[in-house]
Symmetry: C2
Subunit: 258 residues, 2 copies
């Protein structure tokens, strides 16, 4: 008779694994010696060897239990067939995953952020770098763009990004943009009823071909897996702004949708 250690070694596994198979009912508990030691016969070893083999083929323990029920070759064949299909799916998924990673690694900067946004940020920095106030403008715009990228559906963001790139390609537009950005920032200390508020809103309207996302602008709130343009987020963003800035964006949105 074999001890659990001899059994495990003969089958190329561990005593812990054998006890685990007992615990889940995959291998019957054998009889005990007087001192409490388990004692196994060679049939237990054959059973264990089959368990191990099927485990290494990738079956789960419940699947092994089913496949070792007597005369269950058909069942085993079925499980193995599904397993092959599974592996093919996994191989495809791995390859796509790897290709995505390689694409990300191909970028020079902003690896933690989606590609469309990274491209935009790169273009933004390049377009605005020469300006005296470039760094400030970049910081403010980057946060807004990242917010949009995180909450707006991808196709929507792609459209926004394309428009933004067009603006960045024109030095005159960039200059206007920087000026508008600084005027907008300066609204922080202004009264919401100041005529400057409406003036900045009008200037923004000349620069941006599309309005920011609004509640009735969201196509389908529950479509797709990813994030979706979100009213609450936009409201929360507005809350971080000064009253005059909030009013300015409200005017901008209202006019853009008209």
């Amino acid at each position: 008779m074999l001890t659990i250690g001899e059994l495990a070694k003969a089958a190329g596994t561990t005593t812990r694994a054998v006890r685990h198979y007992h615990a889940v009912g995959l291998l019957p508990e054998p009889s005990r010696r007087a001192n409490g030691y388990r004692e196994y016969d060679v049939r237990a070893l054959l059973r264990l060897a089959r368990i191990r083999r099927l485990g290494q083929l990738g079956l789960s323990l419940p699947e092994i239990r089913d496949a070792l029920g007597d005369g269950a070759e058909t069942e085993l064949r079925e499980v193995l067939g599904e397993l092959v299909a599974d592996l093919e799916r996994q191989e495809r998924a791995l390859r796509e995953h790897r290709e995505r990673l390689v694409a990300v690694l191909g970028r020079e900067t902003d690896l933690a952020v989606p590609a469309a946004l990274a491209d935009l940020l790169t273009a933004l920095r390049r377009g605005v770098a020469h300006s005296e106030f470039g760094a400030e403008v970049v910081a403010r715009e980057a946060e807004l763009l990242e917010l949009l990228a995180a909450t707006v559906p991808p196709e929507r963001f792609a459209a926004l990004a394309a428009a933004y790139q067009t603006t960045l390609a024109d030095p005159a537009m960039v200059a206007s943009g920087i000026a508008a950005s600084r005027r907008f920032e300066a609204l922080a200390g202004t009264d919401p009823d100041d005529p400057e508020v409406a003036a900045v809103a009008r200037e923004l309207l000349d620069l941006a071909p599309e309005p920011p996302p609004a509640a009735d602008d969201v196509v389908d709130p529950d479509a797709g897996i990813g994030p979706v343009g979100d009213d609450a987020v936009w409201a929360s963003y507005l809350d971080t702004l000064a009253p005059a800035q909030q009013r300015c964006l409200a005017l901008f949105t209202e006019w853009a949708q008209a």
Copy 2:
């Protein structure tokens, strides 16, 4: 300000995941409203969006924590590089695994057993099927062969299998084998000192070109991952036999090693 539900939805995840990120310190706990509700600002959303994205790229939460430490683009690039290498390894492993499964599925029978043994069993059944006592002989031999396959190192078993196949290819040898097997079985009720015991041992010696595994025959008990020819197993197998059969195999082993 955003509730945890709004935050999670905007980032395309669940409230449970967000709370989990709090629990592991990946996302700081925000302030609470009077009623105990968590309230988030847009910066939390940006952080969460980055966490999600890196998670979907395959980083573990600890890796994400490191990669989001400020200015850790180098670290992130490093982790992503390792990840690509990992994925390549996994793809190879999956492919090999799948090929093994396909090979197993290509067999007609005995899927739960290693290929070398399955081939042997098939040949055994074919070679012995026509015999009047074929079924009994197959049952006895199959158990012994499976035991050997489970405990003897693969190359050793391959050698045994090749010899066995040679025997099976010769109808005269097969007939002798069946006769010897029946004589061996009949030893069960015999006295160990009966001359028939030695006669059967001699007959076995004529049939088997190689002795069974013995303690001093094991090349390296700790080599390799798989099972290894095991003294305890062999002893345990002998224990299942009648005394005269044990003595017969002892004689056989002794003579074969001389």
